[in-house]
């Protein structure tokens, strides 16, 4: 099994005409697209990918997602992206109460954040929806609890602590990017 996949610079994603002919985006849709030999090739190395385009179209319950990347995407990143995309199919009231659907702009922010901060050895986060249409990205591993809160593209913050110690922080992401990288390195085992 390949450690990474290459996404063609021309982009990959779900052809809008095709996806809009389906009842909705299933959790399997993105992996299915990624698994097509035509768009997935093995990569020799894992240089950091740059996302050149992240496009989400919603028409009622139907969702299409298009992502263009410039370099191989490590599998943990792909898995994380899939987790985020999966949230877009949640309807209003998905928590059995009055939760809002996930806002596409928050999903785009989450995908871009994952591409920017996840290294090739960083495990995939749990992508968790919030009742107001936001997204939490969570890791609870290697003695670290790390939660990134995406309330809106402009309002992103994170919490981290080390289990069994007083070491903890809760900060807005803006201005504290290096601190977040430091916590992510810990769960990456570096």
């Amino acid at each position: 099994m390949a450690d990474a996949v290459t996404l063609p610079d021309t982009g990959y994603g779900l052809a809008e005409a095709a996806i809009l002919s389906q009842p909705g985006l299933s959790t399997a849709t993105l992996p299915d697209v990624l698994a097509r030999p035509a768009v997935v090739t093995e990569a020799a190395g894992p240089p950091a990918p740059t996302l050149r385009k992240v496009l989400i179209r919603k028409r009622g319950p139907e969702v299409s997602v298009e992502i263009q990347a410039s370099a191989p995407m490590p599998r943990p990143l792909l898995k994380g992206v899939e987790g985020v995309v999966d949230l877009l199919s949640l309807p209003a009231g998905w928590n059995s109460y009055s939760a809002k659907p996930i806002q596409p702009q928050n999903a785009i922010r989450a995908i871009r954040l994952l591409a920017e901060f996840l290294g090739s050895e960083t495990p995939s986060p749990a992508a968790v929806p919030t009742v107001r249409g936001g997204i939490q990205l969570e890791w609870h591993t290697k003695g670290v609890n790390l939660e990134i809160y995406i309330h809106s593209p402009e309002n992103v913050s994170f919490f981290a602590d080390r289990v069994g110690s007083d070491e903890a922080c809760e900060e807005p992401l803006a201005g504290h990017e290096q601190e977040l990288r430091s916590w992510l390195e810990r769960i990456s085992g570096k």
Binding site: L87, V128, E138, V144, N145
Partner: protein, 138 residues
Amino acid sequence: MSILEDCAKNFPDDATVPDSVALLRRIPPKHFYLDHNLGRCRPSSAAFEDDEDGDPMSIYRKDVIDRERGDVRRVLIGHPGYALTTLTAGQVRSKSQTVFPAPLPEESSHAKICGPKPRSTRRWFSEQAVWAIPPPGK
């Protein structure tokens, strides 16, 4: 009006609900995962937010269900894939929450937990919660 004042006025604590009473919270499939640090599946802190419309968080009183000789599984009817977790009334009160009975026509045990729920409180709830009905397959 502060959240505490609003809760005291509109969702006052019912002191007749003992601190020992188990309060059940329905957890949707996207709100639990394996916590490798704890070595078990647990709910996310996101599962303990007030409703999107500002209504306080809903729970179900196990003492009411028990008194009616009911089964807690009735709270999950119509919600496949969900799990059911518990906190005690004492635990939520320790975080400045009120326990306000709010029976519904379809569920007599329904109640509201009113109070400020900053992330630290929601995280604490998620760490303290104990499964009454664990996630399917976990």
